[in-house]
Symmetry: C2
Subunit: 192 residues, 2 copies
């Protein structure tokens, strides 16, 4: 089964962008490039929501080279976007099917709305956050409300340039948020 990772850079108050979409507060350091380069080797598929895709397209093609790019959208025209495949069906059955196909990992890119429905459906396996040292005050949320708690395991973390904290979590499926007894071992420290 392929691993689906939701990865994002976020503010300490849990926003991925300012209300107007602004991300000029993001720190693009050598550390970020290194982490992305390593992560990129483990995936071959990108899944985006429409809004994330449109932001990406506004500054380029919107498609990530060397990857299979999917955009979940009920409004975009299938076949009308170069380099990406528009998924008109519901994201949940689409992702469920995609996870069972052979291939490397799947990256869920940006988009709290898509992440919300996939978290609800228990289709996300890992969450990788680059927590930035800023309170934005308002903006586009990293995580929207979900109806059930999701218990996580911090499997590595790393201090990044500029005071960012990279925190990598696995979704724990052998119990809810209350099952803490098996969660008391120390997570691996990837700090340098």
């Amino acid at each position: 089964m392929r691993t689906v990772t939701y990865g994002a850079a976020c503010s300490l108050d849990g926003f991925i962008a300012r209300p107007d979409g602004g991300v000029e507060w993001l720190i693009w350091s050598k550390d970020v490039q290194e982490v992305m380069r390593e992560y990129w080797k483990t995936i071959d598929t990108i899944v985006m929501g429409r809004k994330t895709y449109e932001v990406a397209r506004s500054s380029g093609s919107g498609a990530y080279p060397g990857m299979k790019n999917y955009v979940c959208s009920h409004t975009l025209q299938p076949g009308g976007e170069p380099g990406v495949e528009v998924v008109a069906q519901d994201a949940v059955p689409f992702l469920r099917n995609l996870k069972h196909q052979s291939g490397r990992g799947i990256c869920l890119m940006g988009g709290g709305e898509l992440a919300q429905s996939l978290l609800e459906a228990d289709l996300i396996d890992e969450i990788r956050l680059n927590i930035h040292p800023v309170i934005l005050g308002s903006g586009i949320p990293l995580l929207r409300p979900v109806s059930h708690a999701v218990s996580l395991e911090l499997y590595s973390h790393r201090l990044m340039e500029g005071g960012c904290l990279l925190a990598n979590y696995r979704v724990r499926r052998n119990g809810g948020a209350r099952s803490r007894s098996s969660n008391s071992r120390r997570a691996k420290t990837a700090d340098r």
Copy 2:
């Protein structure tokens, strides 16, 4: 000038309690006790909002022994709460005055609403979070919307038992969230 610290344990999605106030997901480890014991030595004053006080009072006196305890409330009766001083005036001028008095640090306890008004008024100097490995989905927010971005400096962090991440930030006052150039140095790692 005394240091005002907003400290809290929170979920990865930024809640300090479930919608019903439930905090059974908190991990009370030896690491937490150790961190609290060290921090406790640096303060002599606790400031709470009414809701936080009422939660504390429901399981005891609500007053922290050895500390000067203040509860900011327009509804509680001044003088009617043993061990605590009810502050009926606005929290902002009260805290501003308190910071100028002599004494050790001031701990702002729980309560996103009080933290919100004090962040707006630039009266918080440090934010200390114990980020728990759980997505609650909904609950009482750690940070409510503020009208301006607050730039922070991560001055230490530490992996805690159970996969919690302790992250200690100083509020940066020499620039907004955009001033990243001086923020590129590595923060001190307190990891063990």
